[in-house]
């Protein structure tokens, strides 16, 4: 799950003071118990928070998915069995949202995988100072707060006075037009993420031993052959990581944009699965249906992530 990156070995040795005197070990049970509980004590705060804010609500969401409730503390919670799930499968909402999510993820891949590889390759051809300046510029959008990104893109894409339409000479309302809203969300998210992906690719490329390419060149391999047969296979762990990142984090990155720009519209054209859960929960106050969709999402998510990890272990080529 991690980009391989060099880690500073700790070189600065601490002076540990007085000469070593072996501590006497108490052998009674109490002391043993105390010492064996030490690691758990360090873990306790993090584990408690993890249980309270991630795993408890996960279990509770599973319970909520079988009830009908409007989130108000005083209103009754009625058990409805599998009705929430049945309703979800009968209505087109869920299917549409899943489809939009798939489109979203596929639409993001050019920004998080394809372009970064091209950019990373281009950076290798230039002097380090030159490519560093470019990299700094390309990384900048990653630091822009999502809501600020939404604001500036709404301004750029404004139908009347936005730069994009005035340069193109059109008056299209990109964000509020059913046919382009999802594309706009994809482009804005891609703009946010490309810098990080380029960084990951640069790190991956830097980790590839140059000897392979030189040896291939000596053997008369062409540039294209070297790229496709050597560089890209060696880069495959990074590429799989980027795909995984795109799948897992598309929610976090699109949510603020959708919530501030389109609220899932127009005509639900940007209501992907994550936004559907939000919509059910906090707009229509149908806790049961939101939780049921959430459980389906969680299971589907787990299957996809598992499959990606499984695939990556088979196809990635490790230089070891």
């Amino acid at each position: 799950m991690f980009v391989e990156a060099p880690i500073t070995p700790v070189t600065e040795k601490k002076d540990l003071g007085s000469p070593v005197t072996p501590a006497r070990r108490d052998r009674n049970l109490l002391a043993r118990l105390r010492s064996s509980s030490v690691p758990y004590l360090y873990l306790v705060p993090a584990l408690i928070l993890l249980v309270v804010w991630t795993y408890r609500p996960l279990v509770q969401a599973a319970q909520l998915s079988t009830v009908s409730w409007n989130l108000l503390p005083d209103s009754p919670i009625v058990s409805v069995g599998t009705a929430n799930y049945r309703k979800l499968f009968e209505m087109p909402d869920l299917g549409d949202a899943v489809w939009l999510t798939v489109v979203l993820i596929i639409g993001l891949l050019p920004f998080t995988v394809v372009l970064p590889v091209i950019v990373g390759g281009a950076m290798r051809r230039l002097s380090s100072r030159g490519s560093r300046i470019y990299q700094g510029l390309i990384f900048a959008p990653f630091l822009v707060a999502p809501v600020a990104g939404a604001a500036v893109w709404r301004w750029l894409l404004d139908p009347g006075s936005g730069v994009v339409n005035r340069v193109l000479g059109s008056d299209r309302n990109w964000i509020y037009d059913e046919s382009t809203a999802q594309v706009a969300i994809i482009v804005i998210t891609g703009w946010h993420l490309i810098g990080f992906a380029v960084l990951a690719v640069a790190a991956g490329l830097a980790g590839i031993n140059n000897d392979y390419e030189e040896a291939a060149q000596l053997d008369g391999a062409t540039r294209r052959q070297i790229t496709w047969r050597i560089t890209l296979p060696l880069l495959s762990p990074t590429l799989v990581f980027l795909v995984l990142m795109t799948v897992l984090l598309s929610a976090q990155w699109t949510f603020p944009l959708i919530d501030t720009l389109t609220q899932g519209g127009p005509a639900r054209a940007t209501t992907n699965i994550y936004y559907l859960l939000w919509d059910y929960g906090f707009h229509t106050f149908d806790a049961g249906r939101s939780a049921a969709a959430g459980m389906l999402l969680f299971v589907g998510f787990g299957v996809i992530a598992g499959a990606l990890v499984w695939i990556s272990e088979r196809i990635t080529f490790h230089d070891k």
């Binding site: 991690f2 990156a5 060099p6 880690i7 500073t8 070995p9 700790v10 600065e12 601490k14 501590a23 030490v38 873990l43 993090a46 928070l49 993890l50 991630t54 609500p57 969401a61 909520l64 950019v119 281009a122 290798r124 051809r125 230039l126 380090s128 030159g130 470019y134 700094g136 510029l137 990653f142 630091l143 707060a145 999502p146 809501v147 600020a148 604001a151 500036v152 709404r154 404004d158 730069v163 490309i194 990080f196 960084l199 490329l205 060149q217 000596l218 897992l248 984090l249 976090q252 949510f255 603020p256 919530d259 994550y274 859960l277 939000w278 929960g281 806790a287 999402l297 969680f298 992530a305």
Partner: protein
């Protein structure tokens, strides 16, 4: 931290083709022109991408600095400069208050995450204990649980605790950061165990070893992680949107409400958006290397 940055590594491995190995079937002149072409095309690809990435940010800044009458101008350079848009934005929302709240939340969240993750990763890196792998997987597993799945039960709990519409309500659910735990564990695993052993032989408690041996040696990693967590928290939208539904007390939400209520006042909106990004960009300019390293090491953002 400086000796092994990714960018340095790019420099080491270098873009230069080995001059001693000309491709077998081409004469040197053709090879040189191909090299030139590779360089030019590289600049082209990077230049266009960088332009596309930086233009919206530039336009944000440029628009915010125009005179209110010039906001719709297409001139590239905003001239004459004016701060009127900032004044207008300040009239509409309480900018210092939003800044202070956002800073408070980001700082509290960062300190909490750092401390809690430090303790947890210390246990994982230094000790062997039962269920270690299982517990570690519990942290990794959080990647598979999107916030949207757990938000309703968490909302209900926050409500019961009386934390809805309070700043503490934004901080508390974020305190256990799996990212921080995994990263710090990675760093601590490469910490020389002899040092810890020596300190233990010395009779020091594990608590004092953590603070007098481990932490001082991990300062760069901790600093990089702190920056990363701070930026994440500053830019966070999801928890504030859930917890502060009525009050809009942080910058991201203030900006959202501004987008909703003030219609298309582009000048003040860009001014506020620019202010929402300013601290992070200031950090980036000053600490560019550390931030880039932190993000690369984080792997997952």
């Amino acid at each position: 931290m400086t000796s092994n940055s990714v960018l340095d590594r790019v420099e080491d491995t270098g873009p230069v083709d080995p001059p001693t190995v000309p491709p077998p079937s081409t004469d040197p002149g053709a090879s040189r022109s191909r090299q030139l072409w590779r360089r030019v095309s590289g600049h082209l690809v990077l230049g266009l991408t960088a332009l596309a990435c930086i233009f919206p940010i530039y336009w944000l800044v440029a628009t915010s600095l125009r005179r209110p009458d010039d906001v719709n101008s297409l001139s590239i350079i905003p001239w004459p400069l004016s701060l009127a848009n900032f004044a207008d934005a300040a009239d509409a929302v309480d900018i210092p208050g939003l800044m202070a709240n956002t800073f408070l939340i980001a700082a509290a969240s960062t300190c909490g995450q750092l401390l809690i993750a430090l303790l947890a990763s210390y246990a994982f890196a230094v000790y062997d204990f039962r269920f270690k792998t299982l517990l570690y997987l519990a942290f990794v597993g959080t990647w598979l649980v999107p916030y949207q799945v757990t938000m309703l039960p968490n909302y209900v709990l926050l409500n019961q605790l009386g934390l809805i519409n309070s700043l503490a309500g934004v901080v508390v659910p974020t305190l256990s950061s799996a990212l921080a735990v995994l990263l710090l564990r990675q760093h601590m695993s490469s910490f020389p165990t002899e040092l810890i052993e020596a300190a233990r032989m010395d009779g020091r408690s594990s608590w004092s070893i953590l603070w007098t041996v481990v932490v001082p040696n991990m300062r760069p990693a901790l600093a990089a992680l702190a920056i990363l967590l701070f930026i994440n928290s500053w830019n966070d939208y999801f928890w504030p949107a859930i917890v502060l539904q009525r009050s809009n007390d942080v910058l991201q939400l203030g900006l959202r409400s501004f987008m909703g209520t003030e219609g298309n006042q582009w000048g003040p909106m860009m001014a506020l958006a620019g202010l929402a990004c300013l601290p992070v960009f200031a950090l980036y300019v000053v600490l560019q290397r550390h931030i880039v390293n932190a993000f690369v090491r984080s792997g997952l953002h």
